[in-house]
Amino acid sequence: MKELTILTNNPSLKESLTQKYPYLRCGIEYRDVNFLKLLELVRDEVHKGARILTHPLDGSVKPMETPYKSILVEKSDPGLDLNSLDLIENAIMSCRKFHFDERELQPRVIKDFQIIDRTLMESAIDTSGLY
């Protein structure tokens, strides 16, 4: 049995997605961790046999410039998916190379980052027919 799960550190994702897609055919697991740690958690899942279905990097925001990331994975596939491992290791490497000043994000910016993360995931849900 394949189990689809979105691993996310975006606190508003679950509520907004379940509102928009009442019949969403995948789980949403919230983890209260930073961007890099979320990627590492996804890597742990890959080592346990998960396959990554959405790209771990954003389309135009540098990793960690946004605090939020959501990644769709398919759990309980047997064996190690080398493509997924390659993808997540590259993403972690990309993430570590950027320089970031410590900063306090204003509420409206936090909201924007959450929206962008959500819309990327919605785009994947829409094209994959998971609703």
């Binding site: 135009s60 785009s123 994947a124």
Partner: protein
Amino acid sequence: MKLELGKLTIRDIRFSEESKISEGILYVSKEDLRRVALTEEKIKSADFDIARPGESVRITPVKDVVEPRVKTEGPGGIFPGFIAGVDTVGSGKTLALKGMAVVTTGPIVNFQEGVIDMSGPGADYTPFSKLLNLCVICEPVDNCEKHQYESALRMAGLKIASFVAGLGKDIAPEETETFETPDLLTGMKAFPELPRVAYVQMLQSQGLLHDTYVYGVDAKKILPTVLYPTESMDGAILSGNCVSACDKNPTYIHENNPIVEDLFKQHGKTINFVAHVITNENVFLADKERSSNQTAKLCKMLGLDAVIISEEGFGNPDTDLIMNCKKIEAEGIKTVIVTDEYAGRDGKSQSLADADKAADALVTAGNANQLVRLPKLDKVIGTMDYISKIAGSSDKALQSDGSIEVEIQVITGATSEVGFHTLSAR
């Protein structure tokens, strides 16, 4: 397909009671412009300003840049699917107002809009500092969702550009350039000895606020397809992006794509420029696989010898770029990729998030992480409220003397991945 592109250079823009173009001067009535902008029901108020090259002016946050164009002969209209119907464009005659642009500004997404400096060191990093910019500043209605605001501001920019271009419809162009692409069979017979080359353009399409449109269709929903290269000159591809400013393609760049123009210059001489292939950059990995498979298939079907592939954006599109490159090369077709780099502020880190040995010919458009100090300028069109929030900036960007220290990522068009910019290694 043959397009005659007429060019009329605008030498100044002035606000006036009456809207007209006379002796190279564009006179516009703010009332006329406001009437056009307010046809968008999600726009509460619209204001306008003019920024000229060399002035101490900063425009921010920049949403889109549009070159006014109008069809003067032949089927269809500019910006098909939005302003005009969906007739196929790219043939007949088009008039472009050169030397100017319509620039839309508004804080849609706090961190994903750009900066255009009209003077100082920042001006060197953006091609749009060389233009007379008619700036459109729109406030949304209350409780307007971000994607509605984006759509309204995008449409307002397109409508104003079309209105302005319409003022020049009956004026004879100062010069005319002709672009012609024969059908496949004719081209093959005409240039049997020349290598068959196409342009593969990747379009940013990751989702709401990361969108590009083709004949009105959201590019994330297309299968890769083939255009005549002149279609984009009539606005068949346009930007709905609120993404990283340095390497998104504003609508202006789609209309004036330098890869298309350069390939035309070599057409019939050193190459046979066969087609403009467009593909997307989606989030779902299966979409990436499907689109790159289809792109490689089209390249093979077209009997190509070589392609130039341009990326838009960075991060996960790096994966699309490498998939396209690898799969097209696997069909025995040579590739050159055009991208920019996110190599860290010291330029020492790996530039792309993905790589493959097939990607052995690459043109770089610069390192988006390069730091630059932009002095305080006398006037701001838009607002500086978001300057520390834009991607490539930081809370420490604003210095005590009013200057800002930022990565060139904040500057609109700084590392344009179709080479429409001033950074060069030459």
